[in-house]
Each structure stands twice: as structure tokens, then as C-alpha cells.
Symmetry: C2
Subunit: 438 residues, 2 copies
């Protein structure tokens, strides 16, 4: 029973963008009362038994322990480094402003402040860059600048960007069938899909994230990726590859956006095969070293060392902001062109909003009219041209090109689905953009 | 059966200095034929099933897979970072010499070259500093400069040095009873031991490393530290703390040196309690940041996130050499006094050779007449004043003050006990010292 609960929590953590979660949410706990340090998680040698956070019993993924664990993932699971290289970190100029009293109208029509938004979205850390300068930076609870925080599905946007880089280099053909790179997928849902359909998540695949159904594919996904304990006698897939080849087609490809983590795992497999490199080596070489990152990042890995490209990255906050700033600047950062401008222009143009609309999200900020999904990025097509990377529980890289604004935010919101936090968050971000543009 | 084999291999890996291992060793495999890349471990997406190295079945610790796994520990087990800080790495000047043809007489009386020694000791990477300059640096197989390699019991020398720093600061009293810091140990073997006796391993404790006996304490040690899979229904200790409090006294304290990993784990507990900091935080603050390390190091951790101070460190080669160079220079490196000179002078004086002799090692290089053990360092008391840190399978930090020589070496020798490689290694190191001193 306990295992099923833990499983549901783990898997909810993979379900970025799931609208149903918010609708069934219980009343939310008081954010201040769930501060990780105040609660004493993992303090002492040893910590008291009721203050231990551990993988084995799944407590790892249960709120409010997540307020500690999201900053300490690699202390509980195997990981692989994304190396920063050996040069000095790139400079992020600082010119701090106090934003705490910035006032805005929240998504319910009530007055709120920036500080309210941070608390109400269970923010662990946040950094704001305006015109390339750090104007705000804050850490609370267990978060520290040098500690990578789980980025969950922000991972997908890194994988999508890497695919874009490889395509621009001629190493990967988005128009090709998936099977050109991964013949093993020929009898799966992906047998007749193109790489571009995978990148844009317009794949018809039977992949349920219904946590009430113990036979839902997400459970096998999580077990295959060592994200859930495996019961004795388990005969299911033992790694990501084994999981992916078993996925069955449902419907057709190219017609509707459907957010499914399996697509990001397939794309990760594709870019590894196309480049001959692991995802961690590729990200280090193509992005992390070039950014002049301050700290290494890391991926969680399955039982055979394969990175989770669906949600396995943990990132240091400032370096996630450097990535966002590079995207804002058309790929040029730290004195070099890191991502070809054409790749970023293509992302900013977005996918087809009509296909996105078929996903059936309510018309709220972050999901509403005009939105689309392209190369594993969320694209607003709004008046500021906002585009963003997002991971459940409130992980964000928010890029507002018109306001010259980049925000990186890590959170441990008790509800996985971002629809529970994005409408509030984006109201504050929009107000900040307006205030900076005055 | 397979599990028992794997267990024995795992636990052999913890038995630094065990003389019995060399005596029962089978004929050694050809080193060149066990090169990690040549054998193809973990190559491909996914790797072929017979080329996978994984924790679950224990293949992780079996030679020749160790030639891959010792450079990739954190891809298989949970770990905690030892942060390098945010400043630029300290400069290691380079003035390379070709040492490969350096000739010496090996421990069997035969002629050999430096290159022979590297191959015959299954060297993964080695760096030589003379008068502070890098004169030789080599990586082979799976080793890379930025990849931390398992340092095994070199870990103990870091813990011993940290204890020395805390003692010099007045935070830790070596003359005090262990129970001053860890009252939980009052009914254990350590109930009437002093901190100094723990630091010098003159503890009478029932702790067997007899791999043929399934009831030997090492098995519980490894299971408690998540270094071995735990069988269903396992009721033994679940973390290092639970393991240590159960250890029983055998004989008396302060009379004889007896190399037991449990002592290093107890000392780790003591320094955490004395400082109020985790071992990883303490090492980052007191040593790693001050050295100007190029890369983060890491500890493997047990199921509740506690570092293994007995053998859990993985270190980048160059940074391990920086540590050795700092020790050679009396604690001063990178423009600051990192370890008080008095602490290093005390280590260099060594422990009591008569107590060391009671351990019964054969009279060979690295273990012979005049040797002693002090603050978790091996002290030769030879004409050059050599002292060193060592971990099984050939991990070394070798410091020759007279020759102004520091050597850091990582290996994956098929035999755990260093008595199988140190006599050969030290013959080469001694010849190099002589040649540099000419």
C-alpha cells in the first residue's frame, strides 16, 4: 500500500503538464511550515529516524521531504556528471534590485507580491537576469548555489536543444524515420515516426500516466529507470531501452501534441546513436563547457548507466540561468556561438498551436491560446515572445526576449503538475517584465 | 553462490594491507589484455549484455570490469560531492620528462622499466610531481583527468588529516575517550578507547575480514554501507552507525597496530560530531577548496546519506596530487597554510614501529622494518622520510620529502591487498627518487 503511494508520487513527478493533478489536489500545506531546515530533514549524525529521507521506502519523493531531496538527488541514486570543463566560470554581472514588494494581480484576481509568489509556489531558489545582469538571487531551505537541484522535465529542453544542434551540424536528420538511428524501435510505436515528430511530441503512443491504474506504462517506465524499487521476481523492463522497445502505437503521429515522457527518452536514444556519445558527454561538450558553467550538472541513470533524458537532470541554479541567457541571446554567450541561431529561431517560432490545443489544457497562463511545443520547449507566441523549459513541481527556465529577461527557478511544490503553479508564477513574471520595460 | 563470490570481491576491496590475499593469489592476467577500452565495457547504447557493468549483480567489483568501474563509481551508487569551490584551480606547472625507460631492479631482483611497472601494476593513471612541477602524467583505459577514480583507503588518510586539523584547532581532543563525541559507542569495542588509539588503529576490536566465513563482520559492514546488495528479510545493520555500535571488543587497546576499516568509520563519526559537519562538507571547507582543486571529489554514501570514511572517496588524479604536494610542503599550498605544520610533523614522525610489527606483515618494501601507522598515514621512517596514503588495488599518494617527489597513482590491480603491488611500485618510485636526486 505504502509502495503504491510512493510509486504514485514518483510518477506524478514525471507528469509535467498534467492538468488532472491540479483538479484533484487537496488543500495545500503552509509553505513556511514546510521549510526543509525548520523541519530538520537529514540533520545530525545520524539524523533521527523520523528525519531520514531515503530512496528505499520512497520517502524521497514525498512532500515535504522533497524540499530536501530535490537538492540532494545524487545522495540517493546513481548519477553521471556533466562536466563543466577546466576554465574559469563565465562572468555574470550583478546589479541587485529588491523585488520582494513588487505588486501584481494573481491568477485569482487578488493582489499579491513577488515574495508571496515565491512562498506560495514553494520556491527553493530563484535567479533573475535582466539584460544579462543578475538583478535578484535567492536560496531558501536546503538550496545552495553549488548544489544542483532536480530540474525534472527541464531536462527535455536540453535534449531537444542538443538534437537541434546535431541537426544543424548535419549529424541528425529530423525528417528521417526514428528507425534510421534506432532500428530496435521498428516494431514499437516509434516504428513509423519521424525524428521531428518525436522532438515535437506529436506521437501516437500508448503510454498512460494514470497513477490509479497499476498497469499504466509509467510504472514500468519508472521501474525500468531505477526510479522506483523493483519488487522480487520483477520480470519487466530493466532499463530505458528495454522499456521503449515495448511501447505500442495508439492513434497516429503528427496530428496532436501529447506530452509523454517516453518521447524524450526516445530522442535521447536517437542523439546518442547519431553522435556516438552519451547524453552527459554530449551536453558537457556542446553546452556546459561552452557556457562557462560554475559547477558540474548531473543526470540520474538507470541500472546500466543510461541517462534519463526525460527528467533526470539536476542543475546548479546560476548555470541553468546561463543556459537561459544563451537561448535569449540567440545562442551566443561567453564569447562564442553555442547553439546555432537558426535552431533558436526555429524554437521561438513554435509548433502548430492547433495541434497543441488538442491536448485539452484549460485556457490559463502557460497553457492557453496560442501556445505550442517545439523541440521540447514550450512556446507562448505571446506579445513578448516568451518561451520556456519546465519541469514538474515548479522547475523553470523562463525567457522573455522582449523584456530582455531570463528567470531560472527551482521549487518543491507539493503538486507535480505545473498547472498548479504556472498561472500564479507567470502573473508575477509578467508583472516584472512590464515593470522592467517601463 | 554468485552473490557470495561477489561479496568476497567487494569485501576484498576493503581489505587494504591484507597479507593473506597475495599469498593465495592465482596467476595474474595479462595487463594489456585487460585494457578497459579494448574489452569494450559499457560501450554502445545500450552496451551489449555481456559488456554491461552494474551494481545489482556485483559485476561492478569483479576484475577486469573494475578497470572500468573504478573510474565510474557514482554511475552505480549514490554519492555526495566534495565541492571544489568557485575559484580558479591552483596552477600546477608542467615540465614533462619521459620516464618510461627508467630502469630499476624489481622486487624479484630482475631488471624492469618504469613502463613495465605501470603495466604490471594495472595502472589506470599516474602523475609525478618533482619540486612542485608535473614531470609525468599518464591516463589509460577508462581513466580521464576529470573523472574521479576510486581511492579506496586513501580516504582514511583524508579523514585522519581532518582529525588532525580539528585537533590543532581545539575542536577535537585526541586524548579524550571516543564516547566524549559518540556516547552511542559506550557498549561497543570503542567504549574505553581514546580518539588517538582510533586514529592510529591500535584498537582491539572483533572485526574479521575473513571472506571465507559468511559470518565475518566485513559482510555486515558492506551491507550496512550499501556496498553489497541486501537480501530479502535482512535484519542486520542498515547504515554505518548501526554497524559500528554492535562491534565487540577483542584484546586490548593501544598495544598493537591492527588495520581495520571500522576504525576509520568510527573516526569519521567522531569528526562529524566534533565539527557538526558532514565529512564531505568538512573536506570541502578545510582541504578541497583551499587546495584550488580542479574538480569536485565525491564520497559513496550509505542508505541514509552517510559518507564512507573507510574507503568511499573517489578523487580526480591531479587534485589528489595537489593534496600530496600540500602535505610535502608542510601544509602550505596555493598561497595558504591548509594543514597546520605541527599536524604534518606529527604524522611524519610516525607511530610506534614495535606496535606496527605486531601486525605481522612480511619484511618487504612498504611494510617492513621501521614502518608505522600514524593518523591514518603509512610512515616508512626510511632514509628519505617517505610517507604515504594507500588504498587497495593500488591507489597511492606517495610523498618523498628528501627527493621533493610526490606521486599520485590509481590502479585496478586484480588483487585487492597492496602487498601484491607495493614492493614492485616502490622499487620504481625509489629508483626515480634516486635518479632525480643525482
Amino acid at each position: 500500500m505504502k509502495a503504491t503511494m510512493a510509486a504514485a508520487t514518483v510518477l506524478a513527478a514525471l507528469a509535467s503538464g498534467s492538468a488532472s493533478l491540479a483538479q484533484t489536489a487537496p488543500a495545500l500545506p503552509d509553505p513556511a511550515a514546510t521549510d526543509s531546515k525548520a523541519l530538520g530533514w537529514m540533520q545530525g549524525f545520524p539524523p533521527p529516524p523520523d528525519k531520514v529521507v531515503t530512496f528505499g521506502n520512497g520517502s524521497f519523493y514525498s512532500f515535504p521531504r522533497t524540499r530536501w531531496s530535490f537538492s540532494h538527488m545524487r545522495e540517493m541514486v546513481p548519477t553521471v556528471n556533466v562536466w563543466r570543463g577546466s576554465s574559469a566560470p563565465s562572468v555574470l554581472p550583478v546589479e541587485l534590485k529588491n523585488l520582494d514588494q513588487l505588486s501584481f494581480t494573481d491568477d485569482k484576481g487578488a493582489k499579491a507580491t513577488w515574495a508571496d509568489m515565491l512562498a506560495r509556489t514553494y520556491t527553493d531558489s530563484i535567479i533573475v537576469l535582466h539584460k544579462g545582469k543578475v538583478i535578484y538571487e535567492k536560496y531558501s531551505g536546503s538550496a545552495e548555489p553549488q548544489l544542483p537541484h532536480s530540474a525534472f522535465s527541464v531536462t527535455k529542453s536540453f535534449i531537444g536543444t542538443l538534437a537541434g544542434i546535431l541537426a544543424a551540424e548535419g549529424t541528425l536528420d529530423p525528417a528521417a524515420l526514428v528507425t534510421k538511428y534506432v532500428p530496435e524501435l521498428k516494431d514499437s510505436a516509434y516504428g513509423d515516426a519521424t525524428v521531428r515528430q518525436v522532438m515535437d511530441m506529436t506521437i501516437g503512443v500508448q503510454y498512460s500516466e494514470d497513477y490509479a491504474n497499476p498497469k499504466a506504462e509509467v510504472f514500468d517506465y519508472a521501474r525500468s529507470g531505477s526510479m522506483l524499487p523493483v519488487p522480487p521476481g520483477y520480470a519487466g523492463p530493466k532499463n530505458f531501452y528495454e522499456f521503449l522497445v515495448r511501447l505500442k502505437k495508439e492513434g497516429s503521429h503528427g496530428e496532436a501534441f501529447a506530452y509523454k515522457t517516453s518521447n524524450a527518452e526516445v530522442l535521447t536514444w536517437i542523439i546518442k546513436r547519431a553522435s556516438g556519445k552519451s547524453a552527459s558527454a554530449l551536453m558537457s561538450e556542446k553546452i556546459w563547457q561552452k557556457l562557462g558553467a560554475e559547477n558540474d550538472a548531473y543526470f540520474s541513470v538507470d541500472s546500466i548507466g543510461s541517462e534519463s533524458g526525460g527528467g533526470g537532470l539536476s542543475l546548479p541554479l546560476r548555470d541553468m540561468a546561463r543556459f537561459g541567457e544563451m537561448m535569449r541571446l540567440g545562442g551566443k554567450f561567453n564569447g562564442q556561438q553555442i547553439v546555432p541561431t537558426s535552431v533558436i529561431e526555429d524554437i521561438r517560432k513554435g509548433g502548430d498551436p492547433a495541434k497543441f490545443a488538442k491536448a485539452g489544457y484549460p485556457n490559463v497562463a502557460g497553457y492557453g491560446s496560442g501556445y505550442s511545443y517545439r523541440s521540447m520547449w514550450w512556446v507562448s507566441n505571446n506579445r513578448n515572445g516568451v518561451f520556456d523549459a519546465r519541469g514538474i513541481h515548479g522547475q523553470r527556465v523562463y525567457i522573455d526576449p522582449k523584456a530582455e529577461l531570463v528567470i531560472a527557478k527551482f521549487s518543491s511544490h507539493p503538486i507535480a503538475g505545473n498547472i498548479a503553479n504556472i498561472p500564479l508564477t507567470d502573473a508575477a513574471f509578467g508583472a516584472l517584465a512590464d515593470s522592467l520595460s517601463k
